[in-house]
């Protein structure tokens, strides 16, 4: 496994790295490292999402800022450093900002006076803002790669289980699809063109170009621009483990189940010894099956399902059903959690070294929004997903959805065959799409948050970890009459950071629904702006530009 002399440097030490390992997995052999401080208050942030969306593992690599340590596979001799922290991420002087401003910094109303100090304030704030130092020219030049243009009949986005099943069915019908997969090293797919380490970032509403309807922009790590022209597109982007609001919800040691599976795929030992798992459903059971020996307790907003109880009992795991998770405590790393039974009750402290979120999986639905597909509110996860027909068709002709990105879909073994047939038949007529989804049980979370927002001390909680928006700022703006998620985003900057709202928005919709006294669907939704994954300018710059005279529709 790997050449023994492949090493990268970090904090003056050199670390060995094996094939397929990322910076984060190399650093997280014992426990999760503390790599990053939050942008405004310099709170310690830990690796959280593990799948390349959040700010928790941003590092500087060879002069390039904000590199996701969870996705970057280091080369020999790479220089990895922490950003936005001085002298180190473990002890950061910048954290005094947080202590000095217990109510948060009000950048909308504050620092206006005295007038003669305006430019001084501005210089100071600019110096403090911004995540890393700007990139070096050498870092940019190292990213330059020739762009890739690909024309295909069928494009499949996502090579997870659902995507692979459709790909297999298409191959069996004599089609060679192009498959994009975000993971760096997926299993091979004979009979298809597979691009790994590739993120689809922009799928605009289709405009016919010859007989190819769809144009997709994508990029392959680190910065190869890709443009695909396709007749049909199957989206199989899957779903992800959501965040949850509590005190310290992005502190080192708090992570999603996605992150645990990505960092330490079983049987590798996970970077924690006794975790508290949040969630009483299927994902929680999956997690216990994989890491049960390293789990201390299961906490669930609602009931804990029998499949979880069964595995939990095998590993002597404590169960806390219908409980509020109030706080993750510890000086820097998580040392314990504070819980309280819902509906009142005494507080409990559970010692732990990790909090793993496995309570809610949300579809990666951004591309459906962009392509103009009809969306529906899914009460089970309290999130939007595409409206999908039994054969996988969305409301956009030629655009199909499978797997958990599509929501609960027919589970018959031949579903992939049905979808493949529909893809090959083509869908020339935009037919209204019947809702094929089975009924879902409404989420517990609305009631959970109703109770949580009454607990004292919730005002200092972080509503948006990427840009350090406090829950109190959201409540204050709501009281001042700024209603709806679109206005709230602009007023507080919530959802405008690196993850583009992927983690804060699902909770913010519920909180706003409670604050405004109207259903989440009336709170609105933030436009899914391209690119859906942050994309290097170098990758986009390498793509051919259209003629300057071409009118853009």
């Amino acid at each position: 496994m790997g050449t023994p002399d492949r090493r990268f440097s970090f904090r003056g030490r050199s670390y060995p790295v094996q094939d397929g390992e990322t910076v984060l997995s190399a650093l997280a052999r014992e426990r999760l490292p503390l790599l990053h401080r939050s942008i405004q208050y310099h709170r310690p942030q830990g690796p959280f999402c593990g799948i390349g969306h959040c700010t928790g593992c941003l590092v500087r690599v060879n002069g390039r800022p904000n590199v996701r340590a969870c996705r970057y596979e280091p080369n020999a001799g790479d220089s990895v450093t922490t950003e936005n922290a001085w002298p180190s991420a473990g002890f950061d002087v910048g954290a005094t900002i947080g202590f000095l401003t217990p109510g948060g910094v009000d950048s909308l109303h504050g620092l206006r006076r005295p007038a003669f100090a305006t430019s001084l304030f501005q210089r100071m704030v600019r110096r403090l803002a911004g995540t890393g130092k700007p990139p070096t020219e050498a870092a940019a030049r190292a990213l330059v790669a020739p762009a890739l243009e690909h024309t295909t009949d069928v494009l499949v986005i996502g090579a997870g289980a659902a995507g692979r099943a459709v790909v297999a069915a298409l191959i069996a019908r004599g089609v060679r699809p192009l498959v994009l997969e975000r993971v760096a090293r997926p299993p091979p797919l004979a009979g298809a063109d597979l691009l790994s380490g590739t993120s689809a970032v922009f799928l605009p509403s289709p405009v016919p170009i010859g007989d190819r309807r769809f144009t997709l922009l994508a990029f392959r790590e680190p910065a190869q621009g890709i443009r695909v022209l396709a007749r049909s597109v199957v989206i199989a982007t899957g779903s992800y483990d959501a965040s949850l609001l509590f005190d310290g919800n992005d502190r080192p040691g708090v992570l999603t189940a996605d992150a645990a599976f990505a960092l330490a795929p079983p049987p590798r030992r996970p970077p924690f010894r006794r975790a508290v798992v949040v969630g009483g459903g299927h994902r929680s059971a999956q997690f216990l099956e994989a890491y049960g020996d390293h789990v201390e307790a299961v906490v669930a907003p609602g009931e804990i399902r029998p499949e979880v109880v069964r595995v939990a009992n095998e590993h002597a795991v404590l169960l806390y059903p219908r409980s509020l998770l109030l706080a993750a405590r510890g000086r820097r790393y998580v040392r314990s959690v504070r819980l309280r039974a819902r509906g009142g009750g005494v507080e409990t402290h559970v010692a732990c070294d990790a909090v793993v979120l496995a309570h809610r999986r949300i579809p990666h639905a951004q591309l459906f929004f962009q392509a103009g597909a009809a969306m529906r509110w899914r009460v089970g996860v309290a999130a939007y997903g595409p409206t999908v027909a039994p054969n996988g068709a969305t409301s956009v002709p030629g655009l199909f959805a499978v797997g958990s990105a599509a929501g609960p879909t027919p589970s018959e073994a031949d579903h992939a065959e049905t979808v493949a047939d529909a893809v090959l038949q083509g869908t020339s007529a935009p037919a209204p799409v019947p809702n094929a989804a089975p009924e879902e049980t409404p989420t517990e979370l609305l009631g959970y948050y109703r109770e949580l927002l009454r607990t004292p001390g919730h005002r200092r909680w972080i509503a948006c970890p990427c840009v350090d928006v406090l829950l109190s700022e959201v409540e204050k703006a709501s009281r001042a009459g700024y209603r709806g998620i679109e206005v709230m985003k602009r007023y507080t900057s919530l959802g405008t950071g690196i993850c583009q709202g992927r983690y804060c928005l699902p909770d913010a919709l519920l909180v706003l629904s409670l604050l405004e006294g109207r259903p989440p669907t009336d709170v609105g939704y933030i436009t899914q702006r391209p690119p859906v994954v942050p994309t290097p300018l170098a990758a986009l710059a390498a793509l051919p530009t259209s003629p300057a005279t071409e009118v853009i529709p």
């Binding site: 006076r113 600019r126 990139p135 020219e137 990213l143 583009q500 290097p536 300018l537 986009l540």
Partner: protein
């Protein structure tokens, strides 16, 4: 009942920065009760979609003077409105790639300097000192005015919104203005998607939709909505102070207070509001190419998001301010060609005066709606419609 009253002294269509400022000035001048209606939510139009640039370098004296007044107003915005708009006077830098462009910028410089502003003409070295990491040979020179700058548009909107409301202005969102009702040859009311209201005066401050609204009201106008796209990168520590604008292709960008590079580029979009405020692959690739060619190290920055908004363009590049001679009571406050935000504190005072039936100091040959009704060509044009 959607509206608090059945009739108003003035109804303003559009709750962007121009409409809100106008309503604020009307209320201050005792011109109430005032109603503002908007088809979307607060900041859903161009006031929430622009790059925040505020400059005084223009090709005509009239625009330079309005811009200078607007800069003074934005400097004192925090004191008057209680919101910090982070107006940062770190300059506007126009880049020339050839002698013809530089000659054009020189004439702008002479006009701007004659108005007492400290404009400077720079050579390639002067440009390189202001733009860290610019590619050699990317510009032969340019002009720079240090008192130009950038602001954060949202708090400016919040500030005027709250100030107008505290003066009793009523502001209704999600209300589409369908046209005016006319009695005895003059405006008698506004027809909306939420019902009619009576008013003798309607102000069209609908930004990109103002051409649509005039036409819905039976008035043929030359306003054309053109979509302009913009993007923002991830944020880094500061390395760029001025707003940079390239004359040849309208590339503009600056680094925000938060450290993002925010900017756009002029591309030929299909005119009209029908296509909506979306983004295109053509823009993302062209903009990325332009930025990376100009400052190679930007290639290692990541784009976080892209969006677009409408410019409300007129044939001569001047806004349209004043009562429409064809329909008494219909007052224009539009046609700002993508520069409504930067001029709003100055122009909205004149729009409010026009709505009150008073005269303004604006030259009718340049600003009044009547100038498009004759067959003569406009005497002057404002062509520095960039950034």
């Amino acid at each position: 009942m959607t509206f608090a009253r059945a009739s108003y002294r003035t109804v303003v269509v559009g709750a962007g920065i121009v409409g809100l400022f106008t309503a604020y000035h009307l209320a201050r001048a005792g011109g109430g009760p005032v109603l503002v209606v908007d088809r979307g939510f607060l900041s859903s139009g161009s006031s929430g979609r622009n790059g925040g640039g505020v400059r005084q370098q223009w090709e005509t004296r009239a625009t330079v003077r309005l811009a200078r007044e607007a800069v003074q107003a934005y400097r004192h915005f925090g004191r008057e409105f209680g919101f910090n708009i982070w107006f940062r006077q770190t300059g506007y830098l126009f880049l020339a790639e050839n002698e013809a462009e530089l000659a054009r910028l020189r004439s702008v410089h002479e006009l701007v300097a004659s108005e007492g502003l400290d404009s400077r003409v720079l050579d390639a070295d002067g440009v390189a000192r202001l733009v860290d990491g610019i590619a050699p040979g990317a510009a032969i020179g340019g002009t720079y005015l240090a008192s130009d700058g950038t602001l954060y548009p949202f708090p400016a909107v919040w500030g005027v919104y709250e100030a107008a409301r505290s003066l009793g202005v009523e502001i209704a969102f999600g209300v589409d203005a369908l046209g005016v009702s006319v009695e005895n040859g003059r405006v008698a009311g506004l027809v909306t998607s939420k019902g009619p209201v009576a008013t003798p005066t309607v102000v069209n401050a609908a930004g990109g939709w103002s051409g649509d609204f005039s036409r819905r009201s039976g008035l043929e106008v030359p306003n054309v909505a053109t979509r302009h796209e913009i993007l923002a990168t991830e944020s880094t520590k500061p390395f760029l102070d001025p707003m940079v604008v390239r004359v040849s292709d309208g590339l503009y960008f600056s680094q925000s207070m938060r450290g993002e590079i925010i900017g756009g580029l002029s591309l030929p979009h299909r005119p009209g509001t029908a296509a909506g405020q979306g983004s295109s692959p053509a823009f993302l690739t062209a903009m990325a190419r332009a930025l990376v060619d100009l400052i190679p190290r930007l290639g290692a920055l990541e784009v976080l998001r892209a969006w677009s908004g409408f410019y409300d363009d007129t044939p001569d590049g001047f806004p349209v301010i004043g009562e429409d001679p064809r329909l008494p009571g219909f007052v224009h406050g539009n046609g700002f060609g993508g520069h409504g935000f930067m001029l709003a504190p100055a122009t909205s005072k004149r729009i409010a005066l026009a709505a009150l039936g008073q005269s303004t100091d604006l030259d009718p040959a340049q600003f009044s709606p009547a100038r498009f009704l004759g067959s003569t060509r406009p005497a002057t044009t404002e062509r520095l419609q960039l950034g």
